[in-house]
Subunit: 502 residues, 2 copies
């Protein structure tokens, strides 16, 4: 009895415990679910916020979405309005499909796809009807064989053509549509009776969809691939100039420590060259699409878009030099402060002058006017590079205390004079390791100058091909006669300098 | 009469002349046409020959074309065989369309598109049927409005989602298909009566087409995006190693002029780094596609493909350093032959050791086994770089004739000792300009070594993530205990050296 009572108590305790456990489990489960839900909601919120920012940063993306909505809504009228629906023989589906598949972000891409779709469809349609006609005359037994073999051969050939670079770049979509249409028409000819009528209706609906796309994409806030390419290239030129000047300043200009708030900005500017290095694919695809665009803004129909790709390539060559330069600057070599101080002004000059040339090139492209200044700036850049070379040339003779202060003034004589041998004996020995970094930086700067000349050549070629306006006559005369800056140029330069100091 | 006669003669002469002119014109025209035809035919021949070579160089391209032909021919059976045609309710068109649109070169791309197509279609189908159900209950007046507004909103939202990078990388095609299906189903619901039946048939045909594509693409000589990425990355590592070693050899090794036939080969090897610089886009797209692939060959399902992109990035960083290096080598600075000769062996060592590390990394990835040698090789590379640094450090003390020959042996003492002042007085002054190139090359070599370490880190991360097999225990024990080469390693190294000499 006592044992029973005890057992009963144990049982109750156990039940209470189990219930308590259940309660805890439930609470834990509910808590867990809440946590998971909250986590998912939080993640979703972050995602939506990020996506929203993407649109706010470039409102044209929002506009593009509205444009797709408008195009689709208008093309769906072919379903809603009975006369239109009957007018295309119930084939309105193809118009909708065309709009969905063909409508792209840039006008160039839309036009490219439209032209590809129309050409691919018509070519394949004619061929398929021809094959169908031949096959239908060959008897019931042979018909599927002829159609099947021709389908196999043509589809394989068209697929292979998509591997050929020139076709891939321009007619990839057309080849796909060719295969699609040929298969659909030739094979369905086996089941459908009025093949010609069907083909006609489909062609007309595709034409309707295509024209709607082109109209909407070109009239409602058009995004031109050419314009995008142009903005990308000029922006990259500026980024390159900022990076170059930034890294030279960072290395040589130790006078002022950057403020904390500016530091982030400076760092961002310094790494701008990475954008240049990574924009090859974008540039190439934009240049391919821009070819399809009609004249727009300041660009005529046969604007030499491929030249922008060349400019991009020369920029990348320059950027990889800057990459090596920044790598050297960040390496932990000890440097002789003496030499760095001595070289500082002259190297800064090379950096600033190169950056100025690059910025002038950006301005040339932006204004689409040949620059009257660029020749002078290139000469200045080259003479600064030559000064740097001369400086390096004369360096061992310049370490004596007497000549250290007026180093810059005497460097040209110093290079040739060798009669101050007593100076040589007095000067301090600098181990090579202390100057290796500064020498490398100087050498890479000189190499950068060479590569900047490559950009100059590419931009000049563009200005010839695209027939940029020549600079004003007065300026060019001044330039040739006395080689002085015009007042406007001086003002520009002052503004530039202020900008660089800021 | 005499006048008449004269006129008659003139007329005849004129006629003869005109006929002669006509004859000449005709001949010129015919000749011109022949020339144009011949030109076109010649161009076409060249084009076909080029295309053919494209296929011969990579026969998998031919196989892919045949695969497309096979897939299309088999899916067209749904038209030819009556029971199959009726079985899908006459919707066989959608199976053909799916095959044409979804079949891609790599299995990864095919799977990605298939999954996207199926998910996009089902999601959009359900939503559209829901909207149609709601709209059909709202009365004839409101139906098109509800359908139109929902179409506008959903199409815009789906279009916007295609701008979001994560969705763009993986579900771009799915979003497109979502818009397509939603428009077709919701709008055609207004005209078609048995919407559910139609949706069911279409879904089943899409499933048939998709499974056919996946089967053909994965069973007949599959081309795996993962495998392609893997081959690309290992190949690029080899190219990088060849470029690095090639440019160091070209600069320092003046003993043997390259033979004419080898010259082209050498030049090609030297420029291999350009492939590395330009393969960013390919690597990224391959890595994106490889994620969709099932386990194949030596890769399991969750193989860390994104790590290959990181390896690619570190390779590009190294390649841009090599680009700057080659730029410096090709610049027309005069160089002191003395210093170049002195530095030659040590710089070649740095170059060779770095190249050896890169090659070993390629081997590691190829064998998918952690390398027992890579640590030793990295240590050797770093110690060579340190030797180069020490050499530069001690350089001013090494120009006296007595120490020039045993430069390498005494450099470590020379760096610290400063009691041989009499040597200093005896040595020749070298202007900085003469050593700037060689110093820059040395400095860039040291920078390259740092960047090679970046590649080593990335590859090690890969070997951890992908759980590469550890090296054999015996070797690793040897390595930790006495740090000597195993006989196999020695043999490998000898083979390597022979290879490098050749």
């Amino acid at each position: 009895m006592g044992g029973d009572h005890k057992e009963g108590v144990q049982e109750v305790e156990w039940r209470i415990k189990v219930e308590e456990d259940n309660e805890t489990l439930k609470r834990a489960l509910v808590g867990c679910m809440w946590a998971v839900t909250a986590g998912v909601v939080l993640k979703l919120c972050k995602f939506v916020k990020k996506a929203w920012e993407l649109g706010v940063n470039d409102p044209r993306k929002f506009i593009h979405c509205l444009k797709v909505g408008v195009a689709l809504s208008s093309v769906s009228l072919f379903y809603y309005l009975k006369p239109l629906y009957d007018g295309v023989g119930g084939n309105a589906m193809w118009a909708i499909m065309t709009v969905v598949v063909v409508f792209e972000y840039t006008a160039g891409a839309t036009i490219c796809k439209t032209v590809n779709r129309i050409c691919g469809t018509s070519l394949a349609g004619f061929l398929a009807i021809g094959v169908h006609w031949v096959a239908s005359r060959a008897g019931d037994q042979l018909e599927p064989v002829i159609v099947g073999v021709s389908l196999f051969l043509l589809a394989s050939a068209a697929t292979f053509s998509r591997f050929i670079p020139t076709i891939k770049a321009r007619f990839d979509y057309g080849a796909l549509i060719f295969i699609l249409t040929f298969s659909l028409v030739s094979v369905s000819g086996y089941r459908v009776d009025e093949l010609l009528v069907m083909a006609q209706y489909r062609m007309s609906t595709i034409l309707i969809g295509s024209s709607l796309c082109i109209i909407v994409s070109m009239i409602l806030c058009p995004v031109w691939a050419g314009q995008e390419l142009y903005v990308l290239v000029t922006g990259n030129l500026d980024k390159l100039a900022n990076s170059l000047q930034g890294c030279v300043t960072q290395y040589f200009d130790c006078t002022e420590a950057p403020e904390a708030e500016n530091e982030e900005e400076t760092r961002k500017q310094l790494l701008g060259y990475k954008c240049v290095l990574s924009s090859k694919a974008t540039e190439e695809s934009m240049a391919n699409l821009a070819r399809w665009e009609p004249a727009h803004g300041r660009f005529n129909f046969r604007h030499p878009w491929s030249q922008y790709v060349k400019i991009g390539a020369s920029m990348r060559s320059c950027a990889s030099c800057i990459d090596a330069l920044i790598g050297c600057i960040n390496s932990d070599n000890e440097t002789s402060d003496d030499m760095k101080r001595n070289m500082s002004s002259i190297s800064m000059k090379v950096g600033t002058n190169s950056a100025r040339v690059i910025r002038e090139l950006a301005t040339t492209i932006r204004n689409m006017k040949k620059s009257s200044k660029v020749d002078i700036l290139v000469t200045e850049m080259n003479s600064a590079a030559q000064e740097l070379r001369n400086f390096l040339n004369s360096y061992p003779n310049m370490l004596s205390p007497s000549s250290q202060n007026n180093a810059k003034d005497t460097q040209t004589e110093a290079a040739s004079s060798s009669d101050d041998d007593d100076d040589v004996a007095a000067k301090r020995e600098i181990p090579l390791i202390e100057i290796i970094q500064v020498v490398t930086v100087a050498s890479l700067l000189i190499e950068t100058v060479t590569r900047v000349e490559g950009i100059v050549e590419a931009v000049e070629e563009l200005s010839d091909l695209a027939k940029f306006q020549p600079p004003l006559c007065v300026k060019s005369k001044q330039h040739t006669t006395d080689n002085k800056f015009s007042p406007i140029q001086q003002k520009d330069d002052e503004a530039m300098r202020t900008l660089q100091i800021v």
